[in-house]
């Protein structure tokens, strides 16, 4: 038997209330590993034409073979489904302890279909899943929901929940867990809401649960030690020393701003004069109160913030770089307390902060053009906070913004105002000043995203090797490598930040010794490539082609400013080379590639 796995999937039909169990077929472990890869395979097999908010859509809650083990940074859980925001397949991962507890409760995945007649939550414990009445929880925010269920089920409990936004099927609603960690992108929370599923409770005590045995125990422990050594020694990840550990992801704010690559005021500019005020350095200095951790992570990049008094009184995790940018530079805001409050709102309502911030910035530009039903001025934090609430509850203008920046811009009459690709808002790196990430946004299978292929690591931080951010040469291959590697690590499922200090050699060794499957670094990359192509094929079957692999018009026609002055994206040059490397024809997976990767 293959080591590591729990060898147990639950199939839950919320329409009928039935729960059945089965092991993962061995050939699927070998081809797709777990987490994102297996989830995508299950969503693919469910058929591409399903309405994302219908009972027929499949929502997979997945962990990977290393989840909950001693492998560092292995506390990741993936929600994989068809996105109501983009119409593509999507997977969105969150940290904390939920994923580990799901593994300790005896599961590799929980696959949910159907729609409950009334609100329900699920309890996952000791190899079983039960469905419980959630009438008293419906309408509560994420925090109150988590608190109520943790009080009921005791200390060895992790809870993931949707908030009012998910209940109302806001298209970018998130699944959240008890430590303000979000499965934020793609609207997975709306899918939960469409099924009347309010929460999932995982009850498991690690000390009482026998973990799956590594196939090669000594070698596995050695592989874990090697990886941990790399993390601890890594200049970027070293606990209490590396920038990520000390300041969190928002350590990037000053770097991107200095490089003239921080999209500002909805991308009109690429530098924010007050950028330092919203940087990780400033948040640490002024509002940070603690540094929480995820399962098996020595880096502790999360930073808890507290505004102790005043109208923005709030306490929340964690002002990520993307959030600080979306509520900050993009909307011309540098009030850290107001930003913290809006983050707190999003965490409790269950909203993706990136999509929310980009939608607000779009609304500010639209307001200038007289296209909005009410005035939304740049930097008006009172108005922003009101709109965050209205979006979650789908009230007033919020009932337009709730569809996401792209759809809302279309409804307001000017789709080019939205900084989105395939219907999903872009993150915080300007594709004019950093060429490769633009190709990444354009070709991401889940809409604009930095986490499909993080070329920033190379183009800015210089890892694993440095490339010039201003050039297009070599970026297609760089991106493909990142995309395939991340598809593999998302399927293990480990944190992306592990890749700052480890590579395919280390990851393959961990999986090989844990599972006993003969996975070389080359095979790991092949598995990643297979997953990436299956996602693309699914999207192709939904009508997505090369015409969707593009960027917001602004980045081709309006040059960047400040230290990237005059630059525009040269996507076309990179895209041609990328398709050739992928073996795709105008964004469509070729028959030859499908056969090569054993997808048909």
């Amino acid at each position: 038997m293959i080591g590591g796995y729990a060898h147990r999937l639950a199939h839950v039909d919320l329409t009928t209330g039935s729960v059945t169990y089965e092991p993962i077929p061995e050939h699927l472990m070998r081809k797709y590993l777990g987490g994102r890869g297996l989830g995508v395979k299950f969503v693919f097999d469910n058929g591409p034409k399903v309405d994302p908010l219908s009972p027929d859509n499949l929502m997979c809650i997945m962990n990977g073979p290393v989840t909950g083990t001693a492998v560092h940074m292995s506390g990741r859980l993936a929600v994989v489904t068809k996105s109501p925001l983009t119409g593509t397949v999507t997977d969105s991962h969150m940290g904390g302890f939920t994923a580990a507890r799901m593994r300790w409760a005896g599961f590799d995945g929980i696959l949910v279909k159907g729609k409950a007649a009334n609100p329900v939550y699920m309890v996952v414990e000791n190899g079983t899943v039960s469905i419980q009445d959630a009438s008293s929880l419906w309408g509560l925010g994420v925090r109150a929901t988590v608190r109520a269920l943790q009080e009921k089920y005791g200390k060895n409990t992790s809870v993931m929940a949707i908030g009012p936004a998910g209940e109302r099927q806001v298209r970018f609603a998130a699944w959240m867990n008890e430590h303000d960690r979000a499965s934020g992108r793609g609207g997975t929370g709306a899918v939960g809401g469409s099924k009347n599923l309010k929460a999932i409770v995982f009850v498991a005590d690690r000390s009482a649960q026998p973990l799956p045995t590594p196939e090669r125990k000594d070698a596995f422990q050695a592989a874990v030690r090697e990886g941990l050594k790399a993390i601890n020694a890594g200049a970027l990840t070293a606990p209490n020393k590396g920038g990520l550990s000390v300041y969190g992801t928002n350590v990037l704010m000053n770097i991107l701003n200095e490089a003239g690559s921080l999209p500002t005021m909805n991308g009109r500019y690429s530098h924010f004069e007050q950028g330092e005020e919203i940087s990780g350095e400033k948040f640490r200095e002024t509002l940070m109160v603690s540094e929480p951790v995820c399962h098996a992570c020595p880096v502790h990049c999360k930073k808890e913030l507290e505004v102790k008094e005043g109208k923005w009184k709030s306490k929340t995790e964690s002002m990520e770089y993307e959030t600080a940018w979306a509520f900050g530079a993009l909307c011309n805001v540098y009030d850290r307390e107001a930003m913290t409050y809006m983050l707190d709102q999003c965490n409790d309502y269950g909203l993706d902060t990136i999509e929310m911030g980009v939608a607000l910035a779009m609304a500010m530009e639209a307001s200038e053009k007289g296209l909005t039903p009410e005035v939304v001025n740049w930097g008006d934090t009172e108005k922003m906070s009101t709109l965050v609430r209205q979006t979650a509850y789908r009230e007033g203008f919020g009932d337009t913004l709730c569809f996401g920046a792209a759809k809302a811009a279309e409804m307001l009459g000017d789709p080019d105002m939205a900084l989105s690709v395939k219907g999903q808002a872009m993150p915080a790196y300007d594709p004019r000043g950093v060429q490769g990430i633009g190709l990444g946004y354009a070709t991401s299978n889940r809409g604009a995203c930095h986490l499909r292929g993080y070329t920033i690591a190379s183009e800015i931080a210089g890892i694993p090797f440095a490339t010039d951010r201003t050039v297009t040469e070599g970026k297609a291959n760089l991106l493909k490598v990142f995309q395939d590697l991340f598809a593999f690590t998302d399927s293990m499922d480990v944190c992306k930040f592990a890749t700052f200090s480890e590579g395919a050699d280390e990851f393959a060794a961990q999986v090989r010794t844990l599972t006993g499957m003969e996975i070389s670094p080359e095979e790991a990359m092949k598995i990643g490539e297979r997953i990436y192509n299956l996602e693309r094929y699914y999207n192709n079957l939904n009508g997505f082609t090369g015409k969707d692999d593009t960027l917001p018009k602004r980045f081709f026609t309006e040059p960047a400013t400040h230290n990237s002055a005059g630059m525009v994206s040269h996507l076309d040059v990179m895209l041609k080379e990328y398709y050739e490397l992928r073996g795709w024809v105008d964004g469509v997976v070729s028959e030859a590639k499908l056969k090569e990767l054993e997808l048909v």
Binding site: A235, L236, K241, G242, G243, L244, V246, Y247, G248, T249, N250, V251, L252, N254, I255, E258, A259, G260, S279, G280, E281, C301, E320, Y321, H450, L451, Y454, I456, A457, I460, A461, G462, I463, A466, D468, R469, T470, K496, F497, F500, H562, N563, S564
Partner: protein, 90 residues
Amino acid sequence: MLVKLFGTLRMIVPGGRVEVEAAPTVADALSATFAQHPALRNEVVHPDRMELLPHVNVMVNGRLVRDLQGLQTPVRESDTIAVFPPSAGG
């Protein structure tokens, strides 16, 4: 000229701003910075030679010097140098 310091380097130089005399190259400007704040040196360059430590990034007007002429990149008095200790996120 202005040398800006970020991240953990601000634990050595609170505020992260150092003014140095005009210097012909980035290396010279950094040397002048180290002269004012000696504790910076070991956080930025090798102890025995003027070579950036791994993943330390230096920009001149937003361009990484690794993409220019490294520490020998010429600078003018009006240029801004930015120094970042190893940092990544996402």
